[in-house]
Amino acid sequence: MPHPMSVELENVTVTYQEKVALHGVNLSLKSGSIVGLLGMNGSGKSTLFKTIMGFIRPRIGRVQIEGLPISVAQKRGLVAYLPQTEQVDWQFPVSVYDVVMMGRYGYMNVLRLPRPVDRRMVQESLQRVEMWALRNRPIGELSGGQKKRAFLARALAQQAKILLLDEPFNGVDVKTERAIIQLLMELRNLGQTILVSSHDLVSISTFCDQVIFINQTILAYGATAEVFTPENLTRTFGGILPPLPWRGDV
């Protein structure tokens, strides 16, 4: 029996009140790959994320995670989502440790009392992103990069097989960006699937195994070396091209 695809979308169409946000999307993401998601604002990147998370039900088509329906995948904590940082109330009275522990809730009983295994996973995850020393700090006192790392640690503690990162490098210093990319590559080598949206085309092209170009539908999808071409970039972004990697190289 063949191993199921990590993320599989079949002919997915999503509409918001009769307005089509995505149509005819077919996508099969393999385990152990980093996939870049490129598109302009309003091209359907967030919609695609929300569809994979199961927050939006497609009008037509089917989504499967590791061969399972989304509701089952959610219960098993298979998918972790790193939102853009602005979406959380940073004045909330919780510490870094508390936030990472929230990644373990799905494994706990109804009282959500941490067991030793949960504490160990939280510690390992925080050490992995080099945030263990800051574990007791209120989240509001973190820098942009530290906030990102804390939420990445939560995804690690959740032991998700699939990581969805929405613009993870926004407001993050170069050192943190490199550290995050390094970590993503390690996770990829451990068999995790990573889907990352960004408009930083330069860095996307350097660490992603595959790239998806999106504008209401999939314009191109394949190995970075094959599809990361000027033609596809022009089709995706129209005339307003962001800085391109090869302009400096050639």
Partner: protein, 277 residues
């Protein structure tokens, strides 16, 4: 000796013992809930629910069913109506909230004025801690304890719901359910608290302790403890004050709450105004 006598002397009256027990419980229950309301930004919604229960309480009285049932139906109903109007019109949420709760409160006032024995209803508006009847007391204690148990079982889920509902959803936690649970808890707490301070001041009990505690700590567990202590302290001291001054009990309790808040605002080590001087 004077202080101890002052605290113990009123305890020879059964009504004072009942009032102190009840106000203490109300203070604790409201204190716990107020943490979630403050963090979720539901202060206005809490006020709306509190006012909206008025017609429910009057109708329950007329129909001889438990007041809590009437209050609960109208409390949750008001939020459903708010959501429905919002989805049907282009109005903003706070406009719709203001519209719905004043409408329902007005309906409650009209019903009160058209119902023969309207003495009881003034107690609903302003509270009647010192004159509470035993059946009401039992009902109030029962609902208060139930609310406390539910909050403590779901403490972390509700926290996650307030902090990051997206993550909650992504790990398969039903946030619609949590929304209605929190809403139900707020409605039940209002039923409990209106016996003590009345509908008009209930919202103070549901906001002030949480706001006070929020200025004092960055840890949620401590915030819960502090809010419970603020609520308990204000309720008990307020009841004594009202006994000695012969003043409105609800007013005294809420004044104590406000006093705690002003103290915290002035003196809180990290978030107080005083730290800048």
């Amino acid at each position: 000796m004077g202080l101890i006598h002052g605290l113990t002397a009123p305890l020879q009256y059964e009504f004072m013992v009942k009032a102190l027990v009840l106000s203490g419980l109300v203070g604790v229950v409201c204190g716990v809930l107020s943490c979630y309301l403050t963090l979720k930004g539901w202060a206005l919604l809490g006020d709306a629910v509190a006012h909206s229960v008025t017609p429910g309480v009057v109708l329950a009285y007329v129909l001889h069913i438990p007041l809590a049932v009437g209050a609960f139906v109208f409390g949750v109903g008001s939020v459903l109506i708010i959501g429905w109007i919002q989805s049907q019109t282009r109005l903003k949420e706070d406009t719709v909230i203001g519209l719905v709760f004043t409408g329902l409160f007005a309906l409650g006032l009209v019903l009160i004025s058209k119902t023969p024995s309207n003495v009881d209803f003034l107690h609903i508006l302003f509270g009647n801690l010192l004159g509470i009847a035993t059946p009401d007391m039992i009902q109030t204690v029962g609902i208060g304890c139930l609310t406390l148990v539910v909050v403590f079982v779901l403490k972390n889920d509700l926290l996650l719901f307030c902090f990051d509902p997206t993550h909650a959803r992504s790990i398969g936690i039903d946030i619609t359910r949590l929304y209605y649970i929190l809403l139900t808890l707020v409605s039940l707490t209002i039923v409990v608290a209106l016996q003590a301070v009345g509908i008009i001041l209930v919202v103070a009990m549901l906001i002030t302790p949480g706001a006070t505690a929020y200025l004092l700590t960055d840890r949620f567990d401590r915030m819960l403890m502090l809010a419970m202590l603020c609520g308990l302290g204000a309720a008990v001291l307020g009841t004594y004050l009202s006994y000695y001054w012969d003043a409105a009990t609800g007013g005294c309790i809420v004044l104590m709450q406000t006093l705690w808040f002003l103290l915290a605002m002035g003196l809180a080590p990290k978030y107080g105004v005083g730290r800048r001087v």
